[in-house]
């Protein structure tokens, strides 16, 4: 293979020089595309820099899959690779300690029903809206001038919330979900409760 920087030609030498391997990407990290630094290999045989793979595993902690073949993968199931160059190899997985997990404390719940049905809190009405689905559909279909805000203008922040509406296609069953999603979204964006 002749490349722009072509240093060797296979026609003269059947063996590939290490340089060729490098240029063919044999030892490139599958994420940053550079020669792997602190290399680790997955059980499925795919090579990464530990820092790159670690960042990917942190990106989707609940669905850790090999970026190349989507096989299951985890910190404990990758093998560090130690070349000859480093006399004191250290497991790269220990070099980069996993960041401490985020901490989440529960909100104080002195009276969980305190706001039931009365509050204007968008998050709360999220679940309420689903429960009232048949009423909600009626209200949203027929009470068009009920004082709730109209559809958002293009590019308005509210419009971003309308993502709930978006589906690739809708068959008969999907239609119901569109309506449900629409009601939920109305509540979510702070519209007045239909029960007030």
């Amino acid at each position: 293979m002749n490349t722009a920087t072509g240093t060797s030609s296979p026609s003269n030498d059947d063996r590939q020089s290490p340089n060729d391997d490098d240029q063919n990407g044999t030892y490139e990290c599958n994420i940053c595309l550079e020669t792997a630094n602190d290399p680790v290999v997955s059980m499925c045989g795919h090579l990464f820099c530990w820092s790159c793979l670690h960042q990917w595993l942190e990106t989707r902690p609940n669905r850790q899959t090999c970026p190349v073949c989507k096989a299951g993968i985890s910190k404990d199931k990758v093998i560090p690779i130690y070349g000859r160059g480093n006399p004191n190899p250290q497991d790269p997985r220990e070099k980069l300690p996993p960041r401490p997990a985020g901490q989440r404390s529960e909100p104080e719940t002195s009276n969980p029903f305190q706001n039931f049905g009365f509050g204007g809190d968008g998050n709360f009405q999220f679940s309420f809206g689903i429960g009232a689905f048949p009423f909600g559909m009626f209200a949203s279909t027929f009470n068009l001038n009920d004082g709730r805000p109209g559809p958002p203008l293009p590019n308005s922040p509210q419009q971003a919330e309308e993502q709930f509406l978006s589906k690739s296609a809708w068959g008969p069953a999907d239609g119901i979900w569109h309506v449900a999603a629409f009601i939920v979204e109305r509540h979510w964006t702070g519209g007045k409760s239909i029960f007030q």
């Binding site: 970026p67 971003a160 978006s166 589906k167 296609a169």
Partner: protein, 151 residues
């Protein structure tokens, strides 16, 4: 150079040196940080889109390749396809939930060419009208519902 720029530089090099059939990076369109690209693609021979030319707009965040690029059809010719909305948004799972940092501009372009190639009838998505009216400008904000693996 940030890791995103480094990686995009590598991809650009590979794509200009050895471009896949029917795919070419519009090098005039590149911003200096490489965060926006335009890629010209051609409908594959003996498919419904043979001879047609399209443009894909790519936008990358600094978290690329951990974060998927925003990819949509732009320009005057938007393909009529059941997974392509008339505003250029594309319903393709690798652009959101099935994204992997081992994918690249090249593999995304090839997936899109192949998505066009397997189309049997040129028609708009059934919910095109309502989607185009209500969607966000950024297709990545859409919560897509992937259900059709045939096209």
């Amino acid at each position: 150079m940030t890791s995103m720029e480094k990686r995009l530089q590598k991809e650009l090099q590979a794509m200009t040196k050895d471009p896949p059939a029917g795919v070419s990076v519009n090098t005039n369109s590149l911003s200096s940080s490489l965060s926006e690209w335009i890629v010209d693609i051609e409908g594959a021979p003996s498919t419904l889109y043979e001879g047609e030319r399209f443009q894909l707009g790519f936008k990358f965040t600094s978290r690329y390749p951990f974060d998927s690029p925003q990819v949509m059809f732009i320009g005057p010719n938007i393909p009529v396809h059941p997974h392509v909305y008339s505003n250029g948004h594309i319903c393709l799972s690798i652009l959101t939930e099935d994204w992997s940092p081992a994918l690249s501009v090249q593999s995304v372009c090839l997936s899109i060419v192949s998505m066009l190639s397997s189309c049997k009838e040129k028609k708009l998505p059934p919910d095109n009208a309502i989607y185009v009216r209500t969607c966000s400008k950024d297709p990545k904000k859409t919560r897509w519902w992937y259900h059709d693996n045939s096209v």
